[in-house]
C-alpha cells in the first residue's frame, strides 16, 4: 500500500450496517482501521474480500478493525455473496459517503491510523494478509516515539 501524502484526517463515515444500525467510523478511534470500498459486481473486490477477514484475525480486536463499505447495493445482494462477515459491512447506497473519501475506483482501500488520519491507500485488488501489507499495519500499531 502507498502512503497518503500529508496524512490528512479521515473524512467522516456514518452509514448503516447489515442490520440497519448506524455505525460511525469515529467509534474506532484509537484503533488502526482498514476501510475497503467495494461492490459485489467488481471482480477484484470479490477476489480480495476473503483476505479482509484473514488479516483481521492477525491482530487483536482492541487494536485493529476492518470496515467494508459496499457501494450502491443492498444487504440482500451482499449477503448472497459474503454471508455475514466477522467485520462490519456498511452500505453507501447513494455513494455520497464515498465521494468525500479519496476514492477514484473500486476497489479502493484506505488505512486510518490510531489518530484518525489516512495513512495508507491501495487502488485495485490486494491480498491484505500479504506479509508486506501486514508489516505496514504493524508499523502503524507501534507506539510513536515522539
Amino acid at each position: 500500500m502507498s502512503p497518503v501524502a500529508g496524512v490528512p484526517p479521515a473524512p467522516t463515515l456514518v452509514l448503516p450496517d447489515m442490520d440497519d444500525k448506524t455505525i460511525d467510523l469515529a467509534r474506532y478511534r484509537g484503533k488502526v482501521v482498514l476501510v475497503n470500498f467495494w461492490a459485489t459486481w467488481c471482480p477484484p473486490c470479490r477476489k480480495e474480500f476473503p483476505s479482509l477477514g484473514r488479516v483481521r484475525k492477525l491482530f487483536k480486536p482492541t487494536e485493529f478493525e476492518v470496515v467494508a463499505v459496499n457501494v450502491g447495493e443492498d444487504p440482500e445482494t451482499v449477503f448472497s455473496f459474503a454471508g455475514a462477515p466477522d467485520f462490519p459491512v456498511l452500505f453507501d447506497r447513494d455513494s455520497q459517503a464515498m465521494a468525500r473519501w479519496p476514492v477514484k475506483g473500486l476497489p479502493t482501500t484506505l488505512v486510518v491510523d490510531r489518530q484518525g488520519h489516512l495513512a495508507l491507500r491501495a487502488v485495485g485488488g490486494r491480498e491484505f494478509d500479504d506479509p508486506a501489507i501486514v508489516e505496514q499495519l504493524r508499523e502503524l500499531l507501534m507506539p510513536r516515539s515522539t
Binding site: K47, A82, G83, A84, G105, V123
Partner: protein, 181 residues
Amino acid sequence: MNARLLTLLALLVGVSLSARADGDIEWRHRATQGAVTLSANPIGTAARRSFYTARGFAAETIRPYALACGFSLGMKNSGAATLSTRLADWRAVGADGRAVRLRLPAEWDQQWASTHVPEAARIAFRWAQFQAENIFDAGDWIMGMATLEAPLPGSFRLVALYHDEKGDHEIVLDKLACNHD
C-alpha cells in the same frame, strides 16, 4: 434485514455463505511498457445488456451502450513511480489510420440523467467504468469498462497515454476487435 435471519434463510435454501475468490481475470490482450501493463477483453452486447439490466437499467435504455464497441480494460503500475492517465487522451486507430476517441463515462451519465435512469443503476454504471482520470501509485491497478465513440471495422490498435515524472508515454494494444456477438 437482520443478519442472523438472513443467515438462517440462506441455510434453509442452501445458499453458500463462503465468499468465492472468482475475481481472477484472463486477459486476451495485453501489452507492457516499462512497469506498466495494459490489458483488454472485448465485451459482447449480450453480456453488457445483462450486466446493466441486473443493476436497474431498462433494456431499451442500456441498448446504445450495449451496442457500442466495448471493452473491459485493466491497467497496472508495477513500478515505484506514480503515474496518471486521462481517458480523453486515448485513441483507437483502425487499419486505415482513422482514429476514434473513447466515450467518457460522464458523457454516458448525461444520457442516463436525461432518460431518468434510477440513481442506483447510475452509481453501478459509474463505478463499473474505467475512470476518466486515474492516478496509480506503486502497485495500484484499475479495471473497468470503456466504449469507443464509434465502431471501427476489423482489427484496430488502442493507443493509451500515461504520464509519470519522466513525461508522457504510450502503450499500445494491437489486434483488438469489437465484439458484437
